[in-house]
């Protein structure tokens, strides 16, 4: 049960993010929901690499013992970098939409339809 806690947290955070994306029409809040989903994915990846009692995978002055998986941590880091790029891009879009449409609402941002 305890070992599964991180994964439960992943599910909770991802669900909150998805519910925010689906129910809020404010574009800034939708981007926040996306960031929540991203955080959940990052947490998921890091939890995957955890070994019970493992130490940080740094060879400098490392004590003997099991190490946690470093690959997932590298993946998480890459995803954080990508997440910064996408969030910055999406927020700039929100700013431009707000400036041109006078509102940052998904219900207003629907001139393209049908």
């Amino acid at each position: 049960m305890i070992a599964n806690l991180p994964f439960i947290a992943v599910a909770v955070v991802a669900l909150i993010g998805i519910v925010v994306i689906l129910t809020r029409q404010n574009l800034v809040k939708m981007v926040m929901g996306l960031s929540l989903v991203e955080a959940a994915v990052n947490l998921f990846l890091v939890s995957l690499g955890y070994r019970n009692g493992g130490i940080a995978p740094i060879f400098t002055s490392a004590p003997a013992g099991e190490m946690v998986m470093p690959t997932v941590q590298a993946m998480t880091l890459t995803n954080i970098v990508i997440g910064i790029a996408t969030t910055a891009l999406l927020l700039s879009f929100v700013m431009l939409v707000y400036r041109k449409y006078g509102s940052a609402d998904a219900g207003v941002m629907r001139r393209l339809k049908e």
């Binding site: 998904a106 339809k113 049908e114």
Partner: protein, 115 residues
């Protein structure tokens, strides 16, 4: 020679080169028939002007049929279908996400849960 250029589709084959030659032959036949036609036909003198029950011919720009009027009958006949389909394209981002996640959930159900 012919086999090199023909695309075999398992049940048949398709040869664009032969098709093109046939097209050229047909074109030549048409040209010959056309050339045997009446040579004394004159365009001037009102022979080629449209006759609209004696009314004057309207300006060209007015009789141009714009795109919106084409296939009116088609969309009208299928209006029951379009009535349901078109409103689905709401243009609201939340709906886009909902459709995406809904489809994904369906595929997960079919592939992983039901088996």
């Amino acid at each position: 020679m012919i086999e090199i250029f023909s695309l075999s589709t398992g049940t048949g084959s398709w040869n664009p080169v032969v098709w093109l030659i046939a097209l050229a032959v047909a074109f030549i036949v048409v040209l010959i028939i056309w050339a045997t036609g009446e040579r004394s036909y004159r365009r001037e003198g009102g022979a080629a002007a449209p006759f609209l029950s004696g009314n004057a011919e309207p300006e060209k720009g007015e009789v141009q049929i714009r795109a919106g009027n084409l296939y009116w009958g088609f969309t009208e006949a299928l209006s029951g279908y379009y009535k349901h389909l078109v409103p689905l394209h709401t243009g609201i981002l939340n709906d886009y996400v909902l459709w995406f996640l809904g489809t994904m959930a369906t595929i997960i159900l079919v592939l992983a849960v039901v088996r």
